[in-house]
């Protein structure tokens, strides 16, 4: 009977660092510790005493890939505290910022992190340019990322730590020539995104896990900024009440805080969003993806990848619509009022799931304290439990087949499962050391 400990040193093709320790005794998985070991950089402590106007750009630096989601969320929290209502144009520009982010970041995850596993390659760059399918995918991947990057740069200044969005509005507005170029690029990548959806629809890995899902769901169309938080058990929670429904769960071996909803782990991310709100996707997206949308709601964590691919399509279709049907002109920044002890809350859907920012103002517009709840922190408990179930199932399979246990294969299966969650450790701490014990 198998008794061993398993350790994965650094999980690759994810954002940031994590370790995993698994203890197996007599063929039973006794303990799984998934620890986010990305060192803390103490942003929620550092924000104390800073001027409110510095906060969005400061908190952007929590993460290099989810950066613009942190900016959007922080701006919402700050505007909430200052009593600022953004203009309709500002809301549209923010929606476009998020679409650029989703296209670029989901494409990075799907092509560079997850797709090599499907094709038996170590890296996306190892794809064979002499093979027509892989050659096409190489071009698709870089062009899709490029289109998302172009959109984010046009609207927000850049994809990473964007410079145009500020509290009260935008500092710069897109010109028509570049808008036309963005529309062209987005239309050009649409076939690539359809191919991407097909790849992940047919991908071989599946892992069923019954859990509750949670996402910010807009009232009308599928989006990432406004809405009510909905859960898969039918609850609706206002943004300001989000945190009160979560229980902080200290995970002593992890540098990131974990969270439970009603005493259990839960999942946030693209899978949660598509499960809860697929009917609100852009009409062209629903038409093109009608067959795969029948797979949702789904409890297969690997369909988080497929959900991300569908979201890229939605962001492409929605952005083309918005850019084609709106004219943008310079607007002044809207100012607000600084009042001591005012609380401001922002909730957005970052690529990896629900992101929450809270600030409390001191006198003179300085920050007294703040809080950030990130998606990967929320998924930690589920990730850990899933790994335990996966490893047990692989041990049981090898026992019934009377085959020797291949630890490197198990480690690879664990990595693929973790990649399906698309974790972001930089966010979660403010690759995977699996230690077989």
């Amino acid at each position: 009977m198998h008794t061993f400990d398993l350790s994965l040193e650094h999980i690759t093709k994810i954002e940031g660092n994590a370790t995993l320790n698994i203890k197996v005794v007599d063929g039973k998985v006794l303990d799984v510790k998934f620890a986010i070991t990305e060192y803390k950089r103490f942003f929620t402590e550092a924000m104390k005493g800073k001027d409110i106007n510095a906060i969005p750009a400061h908190l952007a630096r929590i993460c290099g890939t989810c950066s613009n989601a942190h900016i959007m969320c922080s701006i919402e929290a700050c505007e909430n505290a200052l009593g600022i209502r953004p203009s309709p144009q500002t809301k549209i520009l923010r929606a476009l910022t998020m679409h650029g982010l989703m296209i670029r970041d989901h494409a990075l995850h799907l092509y560079l992190f997850s797709m090599p596993d499907i094709f038996g390659k170590d890296a996306f760059l190892d794809f064979d340019e002499n093979d027509p399918v892989q050659h096409q995918l190489l071009h698709d991947g870089f062009e899709t990322k490029s289109a998302g990057n172009f959109l984010a740069t046009l609207i927000a200044g850049r994809s990473v730590h964007a410079t145009y969005p500020v509290i009260g509005g935008f500092l710069h507005f897109p010109d028509q020539a570049e808008i036309d170029e963005a529309i062209e690029k987005l239309k050009n990548i649409r076939p690539a995104v359809l191919r991407l959806i097909e790849i992940f629809k047919n991908a071989p890995n599946h892992f069923d896990r019954k859990t509750k899902y949670m996402a910010l769901v807009p009232e009308n169309s599928f989006g990432y900024i406004q809405g009510i938080i909905e859960t898969s058990d039918g609850r609706k929670i206002e943004e300001k009440d989000f945190k009160s429904h979560l229980e902080n769960t200290v995970i002593p071996y992890s540098e990131a805080m974990g969270y439970k909803y009603e005493g259990e782990g839960y999942m946030v991310g693209a899978l949660a969003r598509i499960n809860l709100a697929k009917d609100k996707l852009h009409s062209k997206t629903k038409e093109s993806a009608s067959e795969v949308l029948n797979l949702f709601p789904s409890t297969d964590i690997y369909y988080n990848n497929l959900a991300q691919a569908i979201e890229i399509l939605h962001s492409v279709d929605e952005s083309i619509d918005i850019l084609s049907n709106n004219k943008f002109s310079p607007e002044p920044i809207i100012k607000g009022e600084e009042k001591e002890n005012t609380v401001g809350i922002g909730v957005v859907e970052a690529p990896r799931g629900t992101l929450y920012h809270k600030i409390v103002l001191d006198k003179d517009g300085k920050i007294k304290e703040g809080e950030v709840v990130v998606p990967t922190g929320q998924n930690q408990i589920n990730i850990e439990r899933d790994i335990g179930v996966l490893v047990q199932s692989l041990i049981d399979k090898s026992n019934s087949a009377e085959a020797p246990l291949d630890k490197s294969k198990i480690a690879f299966e664990i990595e693929k499962l973790i990649r399906a969650y698309d974790p972001c450790m930089s966010c979660a701490s403010h690759f995977l050391k699996v230690e077989w014990e």
Binding site: H10, T12, K13, I14, E15, G16, T37, Y39, K40, R41, F42, F43, E45, A46, K48, G49, H58, R61, I62, C63, G64, T65, S67, R104, L108, L112, P116, D122, A123, F124, L125, D126, L138, F142, E143, K145, S146, N149, R158, S159, V160, H161, E255, E415, S426, F431
Partner: protein, 158 residues
């Protein structure tokens, strides 16, 4: 693999913004890079990483622990050129923001610093190793990145 330039890309205490910018610069340069670079150790791209020797080691992030410091020295020992990428590597900030915390703030975080074995002060890269090239920015400037990479390529493979 003949005569390809051996590249390592390493991230320490930072948000990995420079890594993300690099993956976007790559959108327009991946075909050329595939021909001239041997991406020997880049965890964001691949699992089979080799830590033996590098023509160019790119390092982003500040140095937040003794363990990180030792790893960085090991990278220096096997690299012809070391490039400090981004503000955290070059200046320490914002990763080193806790260095200038008030006594009260330091007290608030002390148990976490101890628990996770962090150094009492966060260092910048040049505090621990000799740095050959710097690419500034938060995130790094894509233009300066390309300019410096091209200059290094010309120097290493004249």
């Amino acid at each position: 693999m003949e005569n390809k330039i051996k590249i390592g890309w390493f991230s320490f205490s930072c948000c990995e913004d420079n890594t993300i910018v690099m993956t976007e610069v790559m959108n327009d340069h991946w075909q050329e890079w595939k021909k001239i670079f041997d991406f020997r150790h880049i965890r964001i791209f691949k699992s089979k990483n080799i830590f033996d020797e590098f023509d160019i080691a790119f390092i982003e992030g500040a140095v937040a622990s003794l363990e990180q410091e030792e790893r960085i020295k090991a990278i220096r020992n096997i690299s012809k050129k070391v490039v400090a990428v981004g503000s955290c590597a070059i200046s320490g900030l914002p990763a080193s923001q806790r260095n200038t915390f008030t006594p009260e703030q330091k007290e608030n975080i002390d148990f976490l610093v101890t628990k996770f074995g962090l150094a009492s002060e966060v260092k910048k890269l040049s505090d621990v190793i000799k740095v050959d090239v710097e690419i500034p920015g938060c995130p790094m400037s894509p233009e300066i990145f390309l300019q410096k990479v091209n200059a290094l390529v010309a120097e290493l493979r004249p």
